[in-house]
Amino acid sequence: MKTYEYQAREILKGYGIPFPEAQVASSPEEAESIARGSGGSVVVKAQALVGGRGKAGGVKKAADPAAAREAAAGILGMTLKGRAVRRVLVAQTVPVVREYYVGAVLDRSAKAVTLMASAVGGMDIEEVARTSPEAIVRVSADPLLGLSDYQTRDLARGVGLSGTQARAFRAIVAALFKVFVEKDCTLLEVNPLALTESGGFMALDSKLVVDDNALFRQPVLAAVEDSESEEEPEEIEARKVGASYIALEGNVGCLVNGAGLAMATMDVIKLFGGEPANFLDIGGGAHVDQVRAALRILLHDPLVRAVLVNIFGGITRCDVVAQAVVDAIAAGEVTVPVVARLVGTNAAEGRAIIEKADVYLAATMTEAAVKVVELADLRSAGPDGTASTGEGRP
């Protein structure tokens, strides 16, 4: 789960990491009054969960309160990668001598938390990582011992710091690691970490991503998720029934068991000229009501012209899925053609159930994909037989 900058900032401040004064505004008037209170120039920053907001015009400097008002008016309501910006952070500007980068990440290869630092922080850190990886120093914390003192020393020396500055930097690195562990992060970055004219460090921006699997023991962050989530209502609904749903832009609805097979189903639809309307993994061992709820969620998408039910039953039973589909059709909930491919646990029973309904039963995944793409295309065709264009989410 991603958090907003203003949320990450509050958490990190609680661990002693220094930030410039800032407040959240949801209107230009509010931004103006915050800027007036701060008594100097400010930076107005879109609060969004997507990267690249600076380059997209979501961060603006303002020399006075009137300019802050104008900047906020421009940013509030703008859309960043399809999401409307509802809040801005109005922060005091600080005179920067140099921008550093410091971050921690769940390192899959090392099976550890790896900390990274660089003396060339700022907007283009990804570019630095790609073109001059030697400009980023890395240490992996021991899985059982945690981050050792000498490792923070190595990082500080690695970015060319010594004396008081090195000490201040090391304290920030140690605090970051503590936050990472205590808040169950998968990614935590301060970028830029600014060395200011007064000689101290200030975190000018931060990013904190929490492990979804650990939300059960992070009640504060879980509450944030419920109130601030940018997930579609369908995605939240799906999670409640143990499924995983992501809306896409095509017209072939997919109901699949297993994340790998759900992805492969999307891929095969595309391979045969179609576009998947969604990713949907009904989860392992789903019951009839869960499958039916999942089907309802994917059919809620008005773009869906045909549905592919692709099941390879292991822990999931084909007869259960078949029953849910047949029940949904009988209840009039399904108004588009359905293609089903049922293999694995209780496949024969499942096929016997689904045969009674108006469902195209395919023997292989390839046959199923070809058929469902053909049916979706037919349904999308206009009265003159030509396929309508302009498919896609508004």
């Binding site: 769940l106 099976k111 562990v181 699997n213 992805m263 095969v268 995944m365």
Partner: protein, 295 residues
């Protein structure tokens, strides 16, 4: 020959008295797996399908000599179940659970390694050597003994490839689901090394998916160490970036971990990269035919 398990492997099922534990214990017994013990606190002295139930792993191991553990413990208690198995020095520990916090797995993986044990998973379907032993929830009837080793990050796609191979009359030497989580006990490289060393294995099917760099690392390993033919399938070519595709580990972040990158890495390592699971199975069958013709 086989890898990881044989027909003599003695399996302990943790939380054997739950619905899933009971059902899959029966399935494993039907397959011929030697399930010798179960654990369930508060149920010591009972039996499930004739398998004796113990209060703890320590008791179960001393009474039965179990040398593999499989748990059906809910995700929140799974890390503890792995630690209990490792503390009792069970050499092979299989964890199916989905939803274990990643930082718990960081610690658990280090602990398991320190104890000299091997962990398969979490978030996996288990493993099997067809005709010998099945540990997990894989549907036994789609497999048959033969020359193909399968290693996969996805459970259902393991079934797809295995079923497609079996349909073509091509059996499997071993099938290992390594799991869809970011932090897993055993990686592609570990299993590839075993399959390369296993005399029964003549060809390898590898199933990857988006996220992380396990596939890229596997590609480097294959180029340097694997002489047997390998075919690979990578799921998630159409997955949007920055969205977790079900599996906690299946996410493209910062433009890294894309299916395109992984497929390119495999191609440069001489691996046959396939468009569908059916095609992967067909390619493997073809590789084996050509290998046989060359002999």
């Amino acid at each position: 020959m086989s890898i990881l398990v044989t027909g003599e492997t003695r399996v302990l099922v943790q939380n054997i008295t739950g619905d899933e534990g009971r059902f899959h214990t029966k399935q494993m017994l039907l397959y011929g797996t030697k399930v010798v013990a179960g654990t369930a606190p508060g149920h010591g002295g009972e039996d499930v399908e004739g398998v004796p139930v113990f209060e703890s792993v320590a008791e179960a191991v001393s009474a039965t000599g179990a040398d593999a553990a499989l748990s059906f413990v809910p995700a929140r208690f799974s890390a503890d179940a792995i630690v209990e198995a490792a503390d009792n020095l069970i050499p092979l520990i299989v964890c199916l659970s989905e939803g274990i916090p990643a930082l718990d797995m960081v610690k658990v993986c280090a602990h398991v390694k320190a104890k000299g044990c091997r962990l398969i998973g979490p978030n996996c379907p288990g493993l099997m050597v067809p005709g010998e032993c099945k540990i997990g929830i894989l549907p036994g009837n789609i497999f048959m003994p033969g020359p193909v080793g399968i290693v996969s990050r996805s459970g259902t796609l393991t079934y797809e490839i295995a079923a497609a191979l079996t349909k073509l009359g091509v059996g499997q030497s071993a099938c290992v689901g390594i799991g869809g989580d970011p932090i897993i006990g055993t990686t592609f490289i570990d299993i590839l090394a075993m399959l390369q060393a296993d005399p029964q294995t003549e060809a390898i099917a590898l199933i990857g998916e988006i996220g992380g760099s396990d596939e890229e690392e596997a590609a480097v390993f294959i180029a340097e160490n694997v002489t047997k033919p390998v075919a690979a399938f990578v799921a998630g070519r159409t997955a949007p970036p920055d969205r977790r595709m079900g599996h906690a580990g299946a996410i493209v972040t910062g433009g890294r971990g894309t299916a395109a990158d992984k497929m390119a890495a495999f191609e440069s390592a001489g691996v046959t990269v396939c468009e569908t699971t059916d095609e992967t199975a067909a390619m493997i069958a073809d590789m084996l035919r050509r290998k046989a013709a060359a002999r």
